[in-house]
């Protein structure tokens, strides 16, 4: 049976037939796109139905987020959000909480509901908005329920007496520790590591982790995504992450697939990189319909962009501090060589321009030693870069997967407090990367940015930061390029472009159904386009509007 979906317009992202009026689907795959008339040769010879539910909507290829972290999301999503910014979630919108009094009220309100477990964890506290947090402040709100307040930055927690007691943290055990303020119930940096270790049985408990992954399932659907990539399986526990995803996602009511990318260091675990490669080579044996390992691997150069430990070239950070390497450049090169020579697509986490320089230098060396074409070497995150590096990346055949959201959240504060205006305004330099002809995609790195490809596209097209200023308009991309980034280019970067990423005969019937045309709407409204439904391999999954 063929199902035909007519639409106001189908934006195919297939340059040979950029738009269509109807798409015919059979057994989860696209038979043909065109008009009801042009589809007749198929329809006159086969059983078919016309499904008109999207006739007033726009259909685009199923959106793809080529880099997020399900396991990190699974830890965060079960916590109770009290945040300074509004967070839109499928189960409701967390309103902006902007003062200490409001914060305490929200917390009291949450605690009065009987739904929380033995330990109540809330995420999103930020000193600037919510005032300093302490044990006594929490005790005065509720001294009986164990409460843990997890800071927006993830770098600090604060607990009340009941939580300290539940976790068996005693004064005599921690009094010499300089990053634990027992009096105030605060644990930060290394002290946080101590607290997390005590919290792990609660936050990584199998049932909590499952709850988090089920919530992520809703988040992914809500964002209109039909394919996501777990860009480093094993951040906490490889087997648990893989098995839980398989148990929860490999079923008919999951409207997306997960491309899984192995984390070389996790697979290595003290063995040689050659042994890690052998293990990674066997992972596709565990593939199932929705969960797939390809010939890809994740490597890292420098530290996190949000924490200001990206490695920068001269002139560095305004305050003179330096970033961090995640392995020695020698180890990075040795690892890259093993995977390069075995024919892998290598995805490299690089955030600063010096981190990027190491990736580019290494790719250049690999190309000298053993040239490859269409090799899929991909720069992940792409915080700071120079035009000259992008030129080299283009000549070397690399792809770029950028977290454009950096521009929105960080460009203002990084202009003033981190690297200065010139470099902060040109972070995620995707305009240049399109001009150099590089296959460029956008990702959320969720939980670093909302798992909403239309939000990533909106940032890359407008480059409007949280203060409302346009940052480096020369690096903006067109709506057409933005939509390419979150569909066909994302598929190319994941090596899945033969199956997904555009709407044409033979590909999988993955669609995202939008209320507005993202190529014609005022670009500033792209992020607010209502997503009505997704179609995953021909099956319709409606999205409830709030």
């Amino acid at each position: 049976m063929i199902t035909v979906f007519p639409a106001k317009s189908i934006i195919t992202m297939n340059a040979s037939m950029p738009s269509a009026e109807a798409v015919a689907v059979r057994d989860g795959k696209i038979i043909e796109t065109g008009t009801l008339e042009s589809l007749q040769p198929w329809l006159s010879k086969h059983d078919h139905e016309i499904d008109e539910q999207f006739k007033n909507s726009f259909i685009v290829p199923g959106l793809i987020d080529p880099h997020l972290h399900p396991s990190m999301a699974a830890v965060l999503l079960p916590t109770y959000f009290i945040t300074a910014m509004e967070w839109k979630m499928p189960w409701g919108t967390t309103p902006a909480t902007r003062s200490p009094t409001e914060y305490d009220e929200r917390l009291k309100e949450a605690l009065s509901k009987p739904t929380h477990g033995e330990l109540f964890i809330t995420w999103g506290h930020h000193n600037l908005w919510h005032g300093p947090i302490s044990r006594s402040r929490l005790n005065s709100i509720d001294s009986k329920t164990p409460i843990v307040v997890w800071n927006r930055s993830f770098h600090e927690v604060c607990m009340n007496d009941a939580a300290l007691e539940l976790l068996e943290i005693k004064q005599e055990d921690v009094e010499n520790a300089t990053q634990i303020d027992f009096e105030k119930g605060r644990f930060y940096e290394i002290g946080l590591g101590y607290a997390i270790q005590k919290l792990n049985p609660y936050i990584l408990a199998p049932e909590v982790f499952k709850e988090g992954l089920l919530k992520l399932k809703e988040v992914v659907h809500f964002g209109g995504q039909t394919t996501i990539a777990d860009m480093a399986v094993g951040l906490f526990d490889f087997e648990a992450e893989l098995n839980t995803q398989a148990a929860l996602y490999e079923n008919e009511d999951t409207p997306f697939r997960v491309e899984l990318i192995a984390h070389a260091t996790v697979m290595q675990k003290g063995n040689s990189v050659e042994q890690a490669e052998e293990l990674i080579a066997k992972l596709p044996e565990r593939n199932s319909h929705r969960l797939n390992f390809g010939k890809r691997v994740k490597l890292f150069t420098d530290g996190a962009f949000f924490s200001q430990v990206a490695q920068l070239m001269e002139p560095g950070y305004i305050d003179g501090h330096h970033g961090e390497w995640l392995s020695t450049p020698e180890q990075f090169e040795d690892n890259a060589r093993v995977f390069w020579n075995k024919g892998y697509a290598i995805h490299v986490h690089c955030t600063g321009d010096l981190g990027l320089e190491l990736a580019v230098d290494t790719l250049e060396k690999m190309q000298d030693e053993r040239p490859r074409f269409n090799h899929g070497f991909t720069i992940e995150h792409f915080g700071l870069s120079t035009p000259e590096q992008i030129f080299r990346l283009s000549k070397l055949g690399a792809n770029i997967s950028a977290n454009a959201y950096y521009v929105h959240e960080l460009s203002d504060i990084y202009s003033n407090d981190s690297v200065g205006f010139e470099r902060a305004s040109s972070m995620a330099r995707v305009g240049t990367s399109f001009r150099e002809g590089i296959t460029t995609t956008l990702h959320s790195d969720f939980t670093m940015a909302p798992a909403q490809p239309l939000m990533s596209m909106w940032v890359a097209v407008n480059r409007v930061n949280e203060k409302g200023n346009v940052m480096c308009e020369e690096e903006r991309i067109t709506p057409q390029q933005g939509l390419e980034a979150i569909t066909i280019n994302a598929a190319r970067v994941l090596g899945l472009d033969h199956e997904i990423g555009s709407i044409r005969a033979g590909k999988k019937a993955d669609f995202t159904v939008l209320q507005e045309n993202p190529l014609e709407i005022d670009p500033l409204k792209i992020k607010d386009i209502e997503i009505k439904a997704t179609v995953f391999e021909g099956k319709v999954f409606n999205i409830k509007t709030q």
């Binding site: 055990d173 520790a177 590591g193 330096h322």
Partner: protein
């Protein structure tokens, strides 16, 4: 509390060789946390028991492979019969970051940071475009430097970064490298084991400190011979404090560290009241 010594240095600086010596010459049971067992060359007859992440030796020492989280590794040592911990910092670590575990993990205290340098390669490493800054930080942040395969040139370059250098051939007993007194004596230019009257004390704090309070304290305690360390001042300013009998100097530091000052003194010190 169990004292922690950090052994830092870039790839090829000789950390594994030194750790092997510590294990062999240990007079009382110690624990070493290493990045990789593979390079440790422990005789089979010395190994008592091996689990996946822990080697127990017949002399009571234990050798643990560091997990990503150093705190977890330290926690696993609690309750074991050991007198000291040595952490092998990875080649790209700034030792201050590792030393913070000695300062901050409940049940442990920081003894000191020992950095290793290979005289043949240190010059070019300090100029390297990717790791030059890290290697410089390893040398500057250490309490003492052990220089292997020295050349006159490298000694001079290193002295500009850290005066407290000793050469491999000066070391007769490797376990001395774990004693604060060794740092103390070496600090003021005398040979180890003499001047046993010198003592050292480490002051740490997680709160901002006023420069003037430190100066006052030094004036109140004229028996302090030397002081060196990082100070986190108010307004987020970080400085390097160096005090010798000829004076006290604060210079700006790009390392963001908690306050940690080593005092070398004779007799008794008044309590720290910063």
């Amino acid at each position: 509390m169990i004292p922690v010594t950090v052994v830092a240095g870039y790839l090829g600086s000789g950390k594994t060789t030194l750790i092997n010596k510590f294990l062999k010459e240990a007079e009382s049971p110690i624990a070493v946390l290493v990045n990789d067992f593979g390079e440790l060359n422990i005789d089979a007859e010395l190994i008592d028991n091996q689990e996946s992440l822990t080697l127990s030796l017949t002399n009571g020492c234990v050798c643990c492979k560091l997990s990503d989280d150093i705190g977890v590794s330290l926690e696993s040592l609690k309750g074991k019969d050991i007198t000291a911990v040595i952490i092998e910092a990875s080649g790209i670590s700034l030792p201050i970051n590792i030393a913070n575990y000695g300062l901050s993990w409940p049940g442990f205290s920081l003894k000191g940071i020992l950095a290793l340098a290979d005289g043949q390669s240190i010059g070019s490493l300090l100029e390297d475009k990717f790791v030059g800054y890290t290697v410089k930080g390893q040398i500057e942040q250490a309490d003492a430097i052990l220089l292997n395969r020295s050349s006159g040139l490298s000694l001079e370059v290193l002295k500009g970064l850290n005066e407290n250098i000793f050469l491999e051939e000066e070391v007769s007993n490797y376990t001395d490298l774990l004693s604060a007194k060794y740092y103390a004596n070496h600090f003021i230019g005398d040979s180890p084991k003499e001047h046993a009257s010198f003592q050292s004390s480490i002051f740490t704090s997680n709160k901002p400190i006023k420069r003037d309070d430190i100066k006052k304290y030094l004036l109140l305690n004229p028996n302090i011979q030397r002081a060196k360390g990082w100070v986190c001042e108010e307004n987020g300013i970080y400085s390097l404090l160096q005090m010798t009998p000829s004076g006290c100097n604060f210079s700006p530091s790009s390392f963001k560290s908690q306050t940690r000052i080593v005092f070398i003194y004779t007799g008794k010190l008044s309590p720290f009241e910063f």
